[in-house]
């Protein structure tokens, strides 16, 4: 108990403390969020009006690719791992993560992966320009030379994620405080446990597919080349076998965060804890049998098409259970609307809208019109931005006082929320319309019939970007000069994290807590 953090830079380089590592993950993800955001703003600036004004088509493709990669692997996933590092030990009454040294390593390889990925922007031939889904043969035979750096960056990110997942499973299975049975764990712990299994199942598949690319590019194999007996569609099957569970990796922990916040501010227990756990497990299971709904137009046999359509629609059932549970939790509560609650409510509403468009996309014949248009872009941004980003933001506002001991500025938090909320909807809602009107995604220029929607989207995007700068300022101001927060922070919140002091001491639960 006696020793605290080391001094200077070595504290961060050598640390095995889950709170330090959690903070580093969160700051790293924040930085990547801004980097990915800048890429997005380049895209929106070019699409502000028809014609080519700012960037060349090839650079535009690099921007869409890097935006996707940085946001998925750099912003969303590390943010959830950061929250897991901070909160899981405190949620289950454990002193630290089960494998602290591996924890250090799984973080510290990430900056190198992203330095490598970002460096491709300055290479001859440019950065990867084949979309974050990197379909072969565009990403193999026709790729710029930097693709090899991209492949190794993905390998490192994958290794980091797998180590993070192993650590989380080991911690949850072995280090729960006495009396913390599985069905007493906070939902954030549950959703992360399931997410960790998804990660271990699919990250090796991603590693496999990029290795196959590497072999095709440098060692003369033809996994994805029809001329050598391979099949470009094989790439898509393997990629989406990773890619679809990946989508849930980015949303399940969000369910956990929101399930913690809504009961606190509704002052009422979560309506159906057990059914939430089962619904999460059901979603995770289904995520393995729906991957080809991303591939309705590649020419699957009709039996496959029907199977994947019905399986995908089925996901709406457990997802619906979750939404209804949150609504039932709010119902007849005594609600207040602090910033975390605002973000959580927006999460429920906007994620549901994203779910609706998801249901529409599941209808295979209709997908023949939606596929690869802005309708799809609208759909997955509606599930990812309010889904992943809003829930992470809600989590940061909710737990920041516990982390740093200071209360954030509520007025600024609310302003951040409304700006982000309006910015998000102004950006992404019109994309439904441009997509339905027939605008394909990933194009740098378009006919004038899509001009109005694109201009609105671009304005919204810059608004959303400005809101996030405000978020950054608010977080820094809180840490530097926020008012002192109480230990409980909120009114009777549930969870072991609120039983320790604010800020949480460097070592918590060195002696296991007593559970009532």
């Amino acid at each position: 108990m006696a020793h605290g953090p080391a001094k200077g830079i070595t504290r961060w380089l050598y640390t095995t403390n889950h709170k330090d590592i959690g903070s580093m993950y969160l700051w790293f993800s924040f930085a990547m969020f801004f980097l990915g955001g800048i890429f997005a703003l380049v895209i929106r600036a070019e699409l502000f009006q028809p014609g080519l004004q700012i960037v060349e088509p090839n650079f535009f493709n690099q921007m869409t690719t890097m935006h996707g990669l940085v946001m998925v692997f750099g912003a969303v996933m590390p943010a959830f791992v950061g929250l897991a590092n901070w909160m899981i030990p405190m949620h289950i009454g454990a002193p630290d993560m089960a494998l602290p040294r591996m924890n250090n390593w799984s973080f510290w390889i990430l900056p190198f992966a992203f330095a490598m990925l970002s460096s491709t922007l300055f290479m001859q031939g440019g950065a990867p320009n084949f979309g974050w889904t990197f379909y072969a043969p565009l990403s193999t035979t026709y790729a710029p030379p930097s693709v090899t750096f991209f492949i190794f960056a993905v390998h490192i990110m994958g290794a980091s994620s797998i180590m993070g997942a192993i650590n989380i499973i080991a911690t949850i299975v072995n280090m729960r405080a006495p009396g913390m049975t599985y069905m007493k764990m906070p939902l954030f712990v549950w959703t992360w446990l399931i997410t960790a299994f998804l990660l271990i199942a699919v990250m090796p598949v991603l590693a496999g597919v990029v290795t196959m690319m590497l072999m095709d590019i440098h060692f003369g194999t033809s996994f994805f080349d029809a001329a050598g007996g391979g099949d470009p569609v094989l790439f898509q099957h393997v990629f989406w076998f990773f890619g679809h569970p990946e989508v849930y990796i980015m949303i399940l922990p969000a369910f956990g965060i929101v399930s913690a916040i809504i009961p606190t501010f509704a002052r009422k227990p979560l309506f159906g804890y057990a059914s939430m756990v089962y619904a999460t497990a059901a979603i995770a299971f289904l995520s393995f049998v729906v991957w080809a709904h991303h591939m309705f137009t590649v020419g699957l046999p009709i039996a496959g098409e029907l199977f994947f359509m019905w399986a995908t629609m089925l996901i709406a059932v457990p997802t619906g259970v979750k939404i209804f549970n949150w609504v039932a939790t709010m119902f007849r509560g005594a609600m207040t609307f602090e910033t975390p609650m605002l973000f959580s409510i927006a999460f429920v509403i906007l994620f549901t809208i994203g779910g609706f468009s998801g249901l529409m996309l599941a209808i295979a014949p209709a997908d023949f019109q939606y596929h690869d248009t802005y309708f799809v872009v609208a759909h997955f941004h509606y599930v990812l931005v309010p889904g992943a980003i809003f829930s992470i933001t809600a989590g940061v506002y909710y737990w920041l006082p516990k982390w740093c001991g200071n209360m954030y500025n509520e007025t600024m938090g609310k302003m951040h929320f409304w700006l982000a909320f309006i910015g998000l909807n102004v950006t992404f809602f019109p994309m439904h319309f441009s997509g339905l009107a027939g605008m394909p995604r990933r194009i740098p220029d378009y006919n004038m019939m899509f001009a109005d929607w694109n201009m609105i989207s671009s304005v919204g995007a810059f608004l959303f970007g400005a809101a996030q700068v405000m978020f950054l300022y608010n977080v820094i101001a809180t840490i530097v000069s926020g008012k002192k927060a109480t230990d409980e922070v909120w009114e009777n919140p549930e969870g072991l994290e609120w039983t320790v002091a604010s800020p949480a001491p460097y070592h918590t639960f060195s002696t296991p807590p007593e559970l009532k």
């Binding site: 014609g51 710029p144 509704a266 159906g272 259970v321 005594a334 409510i345 019109q369 596929h371 109005d452």
Partner: protein, 380 residues
């Protein structure tokens, strides 16, 4: 808070109204398009019906779920002095809200399955078109008719860069549209030459991946004559946004006339292969071909893009002419350099080779005649 909640409500409702009123608007103004086109084929109309069915289901569910939420947010507020209830867990409620969505899904899935089966039935076609995607143009072949041609974007460069006013069909116009007869079952056989493309014409409800080495099929019965425009719908590299599709649907007689015209043009071109051209004729023609087929990668300046597309101011264009012709005709395997022997006529290739050897101060002083290209292709 009340004000914000109301504002939110009004705002979401506004969007719903906007979306639902779209077909009224869409007919009146062409500028603002909200919704999916109904299209002109049985399949596209089916899809539109499904889309609207799904949309109204979602609106219905949304009204109920969001209605309860907003009611709760309005009424169950601490500031109104309410005491929180403490109820949780209810098996009956849980079962209900599992069973009802399940039933709704079945109601959605059955008509969708029916449409899908219809959409997949490409049998008994009357016209067969082989469509091949190239980086960044489409090739059409009317099977059994000996008609085959490439279709390129025809929007002038100046309109893209903003030096000229954009015409209404900006980026949705081609030099050689595909012509099809109305009221006939047309089967599309879709494939690609290099990377994956996707042939999409919204008005037909046809969107099929064009995959190198594999074929996909789709079909359409076009019920109204007209010009229908679409775009490539799968990222296929730099000029993915610049390979539109234009289909003109005409009466059977006009379609036949178009076929004859195409055949006559092909015969005339074949005759030209035997003609000997002057340097100036080849150079002028070559510049035109270069800008259409080569400049996208190698740039109008011939300098290429370092690291991606080689410069033509060095290398093969200033080496032996046989090698130069070989690269243009057969391409360079494993790179983005395609085999243009199939895509361009002998005259075009002779012209572009002549142009490349003499433009940008290359000044090689030699030229290629169409017959040289023909002989090269024959292996002589």
């Amino acid at each position: 808070m009340l004000k914000t909640a109301r504002g939110l409500c009004a705002w979401l409702l506004g969007f719903a109204v906007l979306l639902s009123s779209n077909w009224v608007l869409a007919e009146q103004t062409e500028q603002l398009k909200f919704n999916m086109t109904r299209g002109v084929t049985p399949v596209s109309q089916d899809i539109h019906g499904l889309h609207m069915l799904m949309f109204w289901w979602c609106v219905g569910i949304g009204v109920v779920v969001f209605g309860i939420m907003f009611f709760s947010m309005f009424v169950h507020r601490k500031s109104r002095g309410v005491k929180p209830a403490n109820f949780h867990e209810s098996t009956i409620l849980e079962l209900t809200w599992t069973a009802i969505p399940f039933a709704i899904l079945i109601a959605m899935g059955i008509p969708a399955s029916k449409s899908l089966i219809e959409l997949y039935d490409t049998s008994e076609s009357q016209v067969d078109v082989l469509i091949t995607g190239y980086q960044w143009r489409w090739k059409y072949e009317i099977l059994g008719e000996d008609v085959s041609f490439f279709s390129n974007l025809s929007t002038p460069r100046d309109e893209i860069t903003g030096f000229a006013e954009k015409n209404p069909n900006y980026l949705l116009e081609v030099d050689e549209p595909l012509v099809l007869p109305v009221d006939k079952k047309v089967r599309f056989i879709v494939t690609a030459n290099d990377v994956i493309h996707n042939w999409w014409v919204p008005a037909f409800g046809v969107k099929r991946d064009a995959i190198p080495g594999y074929t996909n099929e789709s079909w359409a019965v076009i019920e109204e004559p007209g010009v229908y425009r679409g775009q490539c719908a799968e990222l296929c590299g730099k000029d993915h946004g610049f390979m539109p599709i234009v289909v003109e649907a005409k009466s059977e007689a006009d379609y036949r006339a178009w076929l004859e015209e195409k055949k006559a043009a092909a015969a005339a071109l074949a005759e030209l292969t035997e003609k000997t051209f002057t340097f100036d004729e080849l150079y002028a023609k070559g510049e035109e071909v270069y800008n259409r087929s080569c400049a996208a990668c190698h740039q109008a300046s011939g300098e290429g893009v370092p690291g991606a597309f080689p410069s033509l101011k060095e290398g093969i264009t200033v080496g032996p002419i046989e090698q130069h012709i070989d690269v243009v005709v057969n391409g360079v395997p494993g790179t983005a350099m395609q085999a243009f022997g199939e895509q361009l006529s002998e005259v075009d290739i002779a012209a572009v080779v002549t142009y490349e050897r003499n433009a940008w101060a290359n000044n090689m002083g030699d030229l290629a005649q169409p017959l040289d290209i023909y002989n090269h292709k024959q292996g002589k």
